[in-house]
Symmetry: C2
Subunit: 354 residues, 2 copies
């Protein structure tokens, strides 16, 4: 008892394969109701299941979408993956998932694999947007970049600059003037935009005095290290990760540093590390240190204290991306979505509940 094929069904129903195909696909030609019933019965009886592979070979479409992210274990990408999968499933598509591990050459390999698999389209958070775009265009495979993207490609981003401004302003409104920032890695598209937003907002308050920022990876450990650099009364020895001077000039002689009253963290993960560092240093958040962060992944809601954060519209991004990939005639897409400030406890606003 090998695989049940259309031919088996046709035989059982006493019809031709074409008719079976017509009823399975509801077209392209009409079928008499009586015949239809016989075919349906035969399908039921034989346990026939259409073969997607053969279908894809002739039809051209695999009904499969690819998703490549740096690290699915990161809650932000995990939530994104969940949203993409859901949107794809709603549209009858399946999702091929892969991690680039933040590595450009791994990403390119993955791309190659996906193209061999003939995915219909790809959603990608890319480490090498230009190269990826070239490859995908050559293969005529639809794709949309999330975050960093070449000018000419379809992309969906969020207003990183505006979000960072809003976050920082909220801290300003709490009356803080010394607002430091934990930025993402130098050179990172997203990280730079958020840093610029913080700079912009903080520059509006010239009384801000010594404002500092440090650049660290978008990780919990990165946030922890960053926080230590920012909060430690005795400055660490030089040679560590980049530590930026004030935008108004150097932040003063080492040792004479004043502790920031507030910190804008460029990502939730970093904020988690910051929270831990603050606890280790005996600093209470938000009493001794106010914090606002960026991302709005679920982890921000569960932290203690709950994090006030700039929330990215993950579901919207996913839906937009999937729609773009399966739209019969897609328009050029270059979306920049709005982000919202979600006020919780870490900024010093009054408590709310889970």
């Amino acid at each position: 008892m090998a695989r049940v094929t259309q031919a088996d069904v046709a035989r059982a129903a006493g019809t031709s394969m074409a008719v079976v195909s017509y009823v399975v696909n509801g077209g392209p030609r009409p079928v008499a109701e009586a015949t239809r019933q016989r075919v349906l019965a035969a399908i039921e009886q034989t346990g026939y299941r259409p073969d997607g592979v053969a279908r894809a070979l002739v039809g051209g479409s695999t009904m499969t979408l690819g998703l490549i992210v740096p690290d699915i274990a990161n809650e932000f990408f995990a939530e994104l993956a969940a949203a993409v999968e859901q949107a794809a499933r709603a549209a009858g598509r399946t999702v091929l998932l892969a991690n680039s591990e933040g590595d450009a050459s791994t990403e390119l390999d993955l791309l190659d694999t996906f193209l061999q698999r003939r995915i219909d389209g790809l959603v990608i958070v890319s480490q090498a947007p230009a190269a990826a775009d070239r490859l995908l265009n050559r293969a005529k495979t639809r794709h949309v970049f999330l975050g960093a993207a070449p000018e000419s490609a379809a992309s969906i981003g969020v207003d990183n600059f505006g979000g960072a401004v809003a976050a920082t302003r909220h801290l300003l409104e709490h009356g803080h003037s010394r607002i430091a920032a934990i930025a993402g890695p130098a050179g990172d598209h997203v990280a730079e935009a958020r840093l610029a937003g913080w700079r912009h907002a903080v520059a509006a308050r010239p009384t801000a005095g010594r404002v500092r920022f440090v650049q660290h990876p978008f990780t919990v450990t990165g946030g922890y290290d960053a926080a230590l650099a920012l909060l430690n009364p005795s400055p660490l020895a030089p040679g560590g990760p980049a530590s930026g001077a004030s935008i108004f000039g150097r932040s003063g002689p080492a040792g004479a540093r004043v502790r920031p009253q507030a910190v804008f963290a460029s990502s939730d993960r970093q904020a988690i590390g910051l929270l831990r560092a603050a606890a280790d240093l005996g600093l209470s958040v938000p009493d001794d240190l106010a914090v606002v962060t960026f991302d709005g992944s679920s982890i921000s809601a569960y932290a203690v204290p709950a994090l006030t954060t700039i929330q990215q519209p993950i579901a919207e991004m996913a839906e937009l991306a999937v729609r773009q990939l399966i739209d019969p005639d897609p328009q050029p897409l270059r979306a920049v979505l709005e982000v919202g400030l979600v006020v919780r406890r870490s900024c010093g606003c009054p408590p709310a509940h889970l």
Copy 2:
């Protein structure tokens, strides 16, 4: 300029398609070195990329593995997905991912979709193990269950009972006697095993007095609600989620309840909710309340205080599962992996660093 096929390469190289196939696959027949080079050059020049779909149609294997989990946004499953993808990639396979949303009928639909796609094998955290197993067996598709599984199927689990015992004993060793438990939903295979482990350990200390447990979902909210039920001085009105009596009898008249000194939480997510509830109630962890949890997902390390937890060997599970699916002649598999206690701060042990 349509798709570049093997025929194009053959033409460019001045050979037959068969030879192209031989060099691409390194067999099954030998090819003269000179010819090989010509073919390679032709491939390079035409930009040929083998078509995985056609290959799968004739070859039988899609080189694709499926993964179905209840919710990829849950960090435990996200970490699992990352590990499975990595193991699959290392073995040259690609992963088709889907969320069952904890719903059995969605899961069955997904199964159907994956089967149509002719996946080579499936890793599944199932809501309906028996039905899934039947379906997969009928389709002759290899599969391994993680967690709940039918007797006869390949499965990988962890020692939930033993882990819960170890967690509870650790609390006992801290000198606590009133150790409550936050259990998972009643009827859940995994939840029951962990609850039984707690029961077993706690029974060894008859002085334990009023030991209580409550059953709530494996979610942050579930943990929060559970904690409220357990910790609130004034008992909530009845009618809420199941609240278990002591194994030594009823836990005493309402209102006369004594607050537990420690809590064993059945999952990290619940523990996060518990931490938040404790904070809301002004209870300090571990000083007022010691906590040990189960799962060991990254979130447990980042919580404040860091959670002492029973760690599941996720990478090992993933590797074992993938190996089982691609092993040329697989042995029946019914693995129960050991779990380890990771001591951090929440149990009351001395602090360590990130």
